[in-house]
């Protein structure tokens, strides 16, 4: 279990009558070995084996088998694991006759042999896959549990409410990263799963890239040391939390995930953390106005680890009539406000493009190029350049490309929430 530290970046000063307080909070887990016994860890890999996976002359299912074997080889000795093949129902490929196997040379070999026999045939019912993962993971209560879920298609063999119920039943049981292969899957569906289950959704543009992504996700999961961390926020009476977003390494709005602890205290689940990991959060809170010269605590940020509160960082509001103080722009807040605007501009630009509104698409994607360029978000600039021709990145002048591969547009959309850290742009 790690110790956590939180650092606040904000302009504490508000003008007379000001009520909106913005702060960026950097949360860092301490580096180094965890005290006491290491946590039990569970990894479940769910691969889509529906009929569509037979596509690309069998390349999809072949890649899925290979990527799953690589993931199995990435498991640390002693980690509990299972492999699930998903169609209109979920089938446990490995282990046999028990929910989870403990990784060692023998079980890894057996699991890989079982994966080799997986065939692509049937439908897609993601909710049933989640339910299967959940029932396997229930065999190791208290473990840090992680699921990799890969699909190439829509959730078409169950009703939407069945998926919603499966997600709700999985919240708090495990974290889930989703991978969408190709362009026939629905971003909103996988986003719903990964957001609720504190993971990310990414695209696998071609089958050949699946292996790398499976390995990366599994390695990341193996690095987690502290499970079930929550950010606890106290805000004053009469205040309103406008939002709490994770802003680095990726945008994720945590506002709807608030769990009320007491009238003034809310918890936001952050999932599992690796030693030395750090993440940035942007908090905006509206507080009752104070008189000039007075100070109010706008928020107290705590980390809850294993049910124990760890020390806080304070977000303050000080009212002043000194404009030099109240108009100061905090670098971190400004940076992440820009990264959020960048993601919105991409989303809106692509939506306008899909609906044939080229004028709006050009303006939005131009603004996106400008923001990404300004803030040093080179990866996003690269993805944007596959959708637009950039004339002047400083001014944000672009032209829509006539021919855009679906996979490029989708990749830009899926990865638009990736942010860069504040120091990279300065």
């Amino acid at each position: 279990m790690s110790d956590f530290a939180a650092q606040v970046f904000q302009n504490e000063y508000l003008p007379a009558g000001g009520e909106v307080v913005d702060a960026v909070v950097t949360v860092t887990a301490a580096e180094g070995a965890s005290a006491g016994r290491p946590n039990e860890m569970v990894e479940v890999i769910v691969i889509d084996t529906s009929g569509s996976m037979q596509g690309d002359r069998g390349a999809k299912i072949a890649s899925a088998r290979d990527a799953t074997k690589v993931a199995i080889d990435t498991l640390r000795d002693g980690v509990l694991f299972a492999i699930v093949a998903g169609t209109e129902l979920a089938q446990v490929v490995y282990p046999f006759g028990q929910p989870l196997a403990r990784a060692d040379e023998r079980t890894r070999t057996e699991a890989k042999a079982a994966v080799s026999r997986v065939e692509a045939k049937g439908g897609t019912a993601i909710g049933s896959w989640l339910k299967a993962a959940s029932s396997l993971i229930a065999a190791a209560p208290g473990a840090i549990s992680h699921v990799v879920l890969m699909t190439d298609g829509k959730n078409e063999h169950e009703r939407p409410h069945e998926l919603d119920e499966a997600i709700a039943g999985s919240v708090g049981q495990f974290q889930c990263d989703c991978l969408g292969l190709g362009t026939d899957w629905i971003k909103a569906e996988l986003d719903k799963v990964s957001s609720a289950l504190l993971g990310r959704t990414d695209i696998v543009p071609t089958p050949g890239e699946m292996e790398f992504q499976f390995r990366a996700l599994t390695e990341k999961a193996m690095g987690k040391q502290t499970g079930n961390v929550a950010l606890r926020l106290w805000t004053p009476q009469g205040s309103q939390i406008e939002f709490l977003k994770q802003v680095a390494p990726e945008l994720d709005d945590l506002t709807p995930k608030a769990q009320t602890v007491s009238p003034l205290v809310r918890d936001y689940p952050l999932g599992a953390w690796a030693g030395g990991e750090d993440r940035d959060y942007h908090l905006q809170v509206r507080v009752p106005v104070g008189s000039v010269g007075s100070e109010r605590l706008a928020a107290r940020v705590m980390l809850v680890v294993g049910g124990v509160e760890q020390p806080a960082a304070l977000v303050r509001a000080l009212w002043t009539d000194d404009e030099r103080l109240s108009t100061r722009i905090n670098r971190e807040v400004a940076h992440y406000t820009g990264q959020a605007e960048l993601a919105d501009a991409i989303h809106d630009g692509l939506a306008a493009r899909d609906s044939g509104d080229d004028e709006t698409a050009t303006v939005k994607l131009g603004r996106a190029v400008q923001l990404a360029h300004e803030t040093g978000n080179d990866e996003t600039v690269r993805l944007l350049q596959k959708v637009v021709d950039v004339e002047d990145p400083d001014a944000g002048t672009v032209r829509l490309k006539r021919e855009v591969a679906d996979v490029d547009a989708m990749t830009l959309d899926v990865r638009s929430t990736r942010t860069v850290r504040v120091n990279k742009s300065q």
């Binding site: 009476q237 007075s294 100070e295 605590l297 000080l318």
Partner: protein
């Protein structure tokens, strides 16, 4: 220290009064331990030293929402509405009759990092003003610790001089006081990864009434907190700021106007703290007629009355006020002028207050 709990000597005749440091029996009414010279609590206000730092609002309801006092957390915020509760040091007044001091947070700073400590003695006075350096860690604690210990050392020196040791070297006593203050500042731990080692300025004064109509005034300082002597003929600045501009001028490196116009002009070059290269105190000693007043202040005041003439003009109309009221008025003047820094004013008045006025004929109330 005067604010340490004293042995309870009110309980019964068997409970002898003892020194809290060395346990030496101490006769009633003695001010210092005869064995180790620790200041003893006489059960009365010997001096107007620092008031308890405990926040008086802790048991009081929240100043903003009125929530019960047990809602005030350790950081002095209300756990209901978040309002910061006033700190005792935001505005503190010390009154020892002829000697008084006021220290105030001002309008711009988040806390008061100035500190002062005073003592009126039967035959003189001791005053100390410290201005914690804002760009260092815990400047408020550094200034408070320095002012308190310096006042104790000086008070002891003055008492001993007058009582038993006429030959006491007062300049050495001043250096001893500054050395003790330096030790106290060094004892304030910096914040790991913080801004810098706790640091503070200091200006300290001993005034001895020689009994022949003259006062022996000795002022020592490090930094830009100042001492002035003010009498019927005007105000005289006794101290010379340890500032970048003054060093340039003294070294002949720059004409005065140019040095004063530089952005570094007011940067202090001497202070107390771990980064101070030496803490040899600058001392000025003057014999003055026993009618007038000694004023020590932080730059929160003198920034708005930089030359002695403007300070004299300010004081001259307020001769009828008590030292405390005068200190309040000067503080209010600095707040009204913008209050950009913490403000501390400590003053000691000698002789007939009415003689202070040369131009103002308004009768005392």
């Amino acid at each position: 220290m005067s604010n340490e709990p004293a042995p309870d000597n009110g309980g019964g005749p068997s409970e002898a009064r003892r020194c809290p440091t060395c346990s030496e029996p101490a006769p009633p009414e003695t001010k210092f331990c005869e064995n180790c010279a620790t200041e003893l609590d006489t059960g009365e206000s010997l001096s107007a030293g620092p008031r308890p730092r405990a926040n008086p609002a802790v048991s009081a309801p929240c100043v903003d929402c009125g929530a019960a006092g047990d809602n005030i957390d350790r950081d002095d915020y209300c756990a209901m509405c978040g309002a910061k509760q006033p700190d005792a040091r935001d505005h503190l007044e010390l009154d020892d009759g002829a000697v008084a001091a006021v220290t105030d947070k001002g309008l711009r700073h988040r806390r008061n990092e100035d500190a002062c400590s005073i003592a009126a003695l039967s035959t003189g006075a001791v005053l100390v003003v410290c201005d914690g350096v804002s760009t260092t860690d815990h400047p408020d604690r550094a200034s408070e610790a320095a002012a308190e210990i310096a006042r104790q050392v000086l008070e002891r020196a003055v008492s001993q001089t007058l009582a038993t040791e006429p030959g006491t070297d007062l300049k050495k006593a001043m250096q001893d006081a500054v050395d003790a203050a330096q030790q106290a500042v060094l004892a304030v731990e910096p914040i790991p990864g913080g801004q810098g080692n706790p640091s503070t300025t200091i200006v300290a004064a001993m005034v001895l009434d020689q009994g022949d109509g003259k006062l022996d005034v000795l002022v020592g300082w490090l930094g830009d907190s100042r001492g002035y002597w003010i009498d019927r003929s005007g105000a005289t600045q006794l101290t010379v700021d340890h500032s970048w501009a003054n060093e340039q001028i003294d070294a002949g490196l720059m004409p005065e106007a140019e040095a004063q116009a530089d952005t570094r002009a007011h940067t202090i070059t001497r202070w107390l703290g771990r980064d101070a290269t030496d803490v040899e105190v600058s001392v000025v000693r003057q014999e003055v007629p026993a009618e007038g007043m000694l004023l020590l202040c932080s730059d929160g005041l003198w920034n708005y009355a930089a030359d002695p003439e403007s300070l004299f003009d300010l004081v001259n109309g307020m001769h009828h006020l008590s030292p405390l009221e005068l200190a309040r008025q000067l503080t209010a003047f600095a707040v009204d002028s913008g209050g950009h820094d913490n403000i501390t004013v400590a003053l000691a008045r000698f002789g007939d207050q009415a003689t202070m006025s040369v131009t103002d004929s308004e009768p005392a109330p």
